[in-house]
Symmetry: C2
Subunit: 314 residues, 2 copies
């Protein structure tokens, strides 16, 4: 009984010979240790909880996938819970996970909330500014990257477009763009919550590059622009964010700033695993840089001059 346990887990002091016998016989019998029995004895379930506001929204599926992959490497399973886009839903999800017996929880917090998890180890994946943050994507650096690329293409008048001025992520991204642009190019910040900007007019005023906070928004810009006769990238360059699957599914394909989701997931899981193991030395909170991919939606600023169609000038 005990010997079988030792042989199968590899923990104990068992002869190579016995290990062979046990493993092969277990294979024949289709035996594997009961998760419940083991969990009861060890006090660990081998399951991690994952709480996200809404897996239906872009970026979250990639994250879920990445976390699952990383967790699997460490022998953990992932129990999903839906924060339902509210602080209360998030708390309920966390509670549910704990009652299901998870060993730890990874949370991407609902905007503006600070999940308080004490019953179980946790890793918060938030923004660099969040004091609870364990790993975050470097949104500001991503914004900088995009601005520099467009600058290099010769653009000097920018429209920076967000959806919601209250989103920390969006503020960070646009903040990064501004860091680079300030003093070296003209820029204007717009939020679609205040209405979608008049692209024809902006273009007439000399805007040649539009940077957005998401691929979805970039796509919206490209299609709205097309309706007004502004070809992309000839008349106007458009930059997305996140590198969603749709970025390559549309024409023009979207230039975009891509977060290193895999690395983010790896660090979150590694941290949590360390806490669960009881490591004395835990990984320090960190930030993961982004990269950029230039596709068809951006081009040199000069091309614009050769474009005959113009937005109507007021």
């Amino acid at each position: 009984m005990a010997t079988v346990s030792n042989a199968l887990t590899g923990k104990g002091r068992v002869s190579e010979n016995v290990i062979q016998q046990v493993t092969s016989r277990a294979g024949q019998l289709g035996y594997f240790p009961s998760a419940a029995g083991r969990a009861l004895k060890t006090g660990r379930s081998g399951i991690l909880g994952l709480v996200m506001p809404d897996i239906t929204q872009p970026v979250f599926p990639e994250f879920a996938q990445g976390v699952e992959t990383e967790a699997d490497k460490c022998g953990f399973g992932i129990l999903m819970a839906n924060g339902r886009g509210t602080g209360a839903g998030q708390d309920a999800a966390i509670k549910k996970l704990i009652q299901h017996g998870v060993d730890g929880i990874i949370v991407i917090p609902q905007r503006g909330t600070t999940p308080n998890i004490s019953a179980v180890p946790s890793a918060i994946v938030s923004t660099p500014g969040d004091p609870d943050n364990i790993v975050a994507a470097n949104h500001a650096q991503g914004g900088q990257l995009g601005a520099r690329a467009l600058l290099a293409l010769g653009h000097r008048k920018f429209l920076l477009l967000g959806n919601d001025a209250h989103s920390g992520v969006q503020k960070d991204r646009i903040g990064g763009m501004i860091d680079v642009l300030k003093g070296v190019a003209a820029y204007e910040v717009c939020w679609t919550s205040d209405g979608f900007p008049d692209l024809g007019q902006k273009h007439a005023h000399g805007v040649s590059a539009i940077m957005t906070v998401s691929d979805l928004l970039a796509l919206r810009v490209v299609t709205e622009a097309a309706r007004r006769g502004l070809e992309c990238p000839q008349a106007i360059s458009v930059m997305g964010f996140d590198d969603l699957p749709l970025a390559t599914a549309v024409r023009p394909t979207l230039s975009t700033i891509v977060p290193n989701t895999a690395e983010l997931c790896k660090r979150a899981v590694a941290y949590l695993a360390a806490v669960i193991r009881g490591d004395a030395q835990l990984p320090a909170p960190s930030v993961v840089d982004m990269t950029i991919v230039l596709r068809e939606s951006t081009g040199p600023a000069t091309t614009r001059l050769s474009n005959s169609k113009k937005g109507e000038i007021k």
Copy 2:
């Protein structure tokens, strides 16, 4: 000890009075029953496994969300596993879930595979044609719905556009379209795996409506058309499939055929719960009908005549 258990689970014969006392004291103490202990004793973990080919692909996130919501209503948690787009990965995922002690598994099988799960109850969410299928979306009926709507708008020449002629889902969808169109309108089927069709040419040949097998593809059509000066829906009507979040994020917003994912999930979970409970009478395999939503990407066929811009006629 036993009384507390009975009071908390509501199973046993305990006085209302004691239930009150126990619950309130449990609340003060922050006590809740250990999942591991319960699982060991009852032989049930209260966890369902979910295997999908790739949560990163459209539709799967909605499905995951729906399954999680339904499972939660029945007190089940959802353990995710990634089939990695291959039959082998799928088998590995299933095995992993079983070893984690799940009570049952929901599988959306990788195309062309038939997962064989014997150790644990399972619900296969596939296509109506699959003999193992428990619940499926009615892709053919969805295709019919779309074709009828476009017919009603006066369209008489169709392009039916798929990505991959080997996909059962795509064949079903296009098959449904053809059911309706056959004999009453002209149509042509194209697959992007053979190259993307020349939209200008198709339009010049009189095609006024393009039906696709996915919103992503519809979006591609809309943007490609725009580049060739074909306004949507004035010059050409485009129909999507699946009602992804992006369908309303772009201009024109996409008319699309929407699967009733919530109902699909509900039935899958209900079936699995019934098997686990050991119900004598199990729900019969069934098929869930789709609905349609007409937005900006489709319009009356006649409008096309008033459009001055034309694709170049060969």
